[in-house]
Symmetry: C2
Subunit: 145 residues, 2 copies
């Protein structure tokens, strides 16, 4: 059993996708994260990191501040997202990406998800995105459920 046997089609967003549309895609299709395509490069945004799309940094860093922001203000943050795109919220730092090739083994996929803390691994063959393996698909396979 290799990645090619576990992958499934997965929606892809671009740097120009509006943040709100990306968040709606996550919510409506119950996705564990986003695959962001930038020319030939892929970035994976796990769902929890995609939350950064919707929360201003100064609130992210200060739990006490998040507590005092009331409901009306929370709605304002969401409205303010309207004009922003995925480009503006992608992490800047370089780090290991959960991307591998179709020959990856089940154990390799599990180790990659655990190391990168991503519930989603993109499967790429010669620069072409074939699809993604999700944590749920992997667990189902490992446990035979």
């Amino acid at each position: 059993m290799r990645a090619r046997d576990l992958l499934a089609d997965y929606p892809v967003v671009t740097l120009e996708t509006p943040v709100l549309q990306a968040a709606q895609l996550l919510a409506e299709q119950d996705l564990p994260g986003l695959i962001v395509k930038n020319d030939d490069q892929l970035t994976i945004l796990p769902g929890t990191e995609a939350l950064r799309l919707a929360v201003p940094r100064y609130i992210m860093d200060d739990p006490a501040l998040a507590r005092v922001v009331d409901e009306a203000h929370a709605d304002e943050f969401l409205r303010a997202l309207g004009s922003r795109t995925v480009r503006e919220v992608l992490p800047r730092e370089r780090r290991e990406l959960p991307v591998t090739d179709p020959d990856a083994t089940v154990l390799e996929l599990a180790a990659l998800m655990a190391r990168t803390r991503s519930p989603l691994v993109a499967i790429v063959d010669k620069g072409r995105l074939l699809g993604a393996v999700t944590l749920q698909a992997l667990l189902d396979r490992m446990l035979g459920t």
Copy 2:
């Protein structure tokens, strides 16, 4: 809208729960992670970290090794899990836990999930676990989907 309005019942495992049973719970109920109860203390294991339950550390740390382990050996790793419990695989280090109280705001929940990279926040009131808020429940609320 506060955490108390978003929380739902969530299954809880203990330190004595067999690893295999915990992994099956994740897979079968399509959970984003596990809540582990240890007397009065809670630990949250996001799904990607729960994968560490099933993958030996030396393979986790060495992608090349994971590649060469063949299918037959992968099955052996899973069989070897039979006698292990959640206690043996919980992270040792202390770190911020995705646990808050029922008064937490939507923004506070989002910031907590993003900081701790956990798609799951446990809601506790005076030491009693009330339930959990998942990333999906939070996104649905934030976007009104």
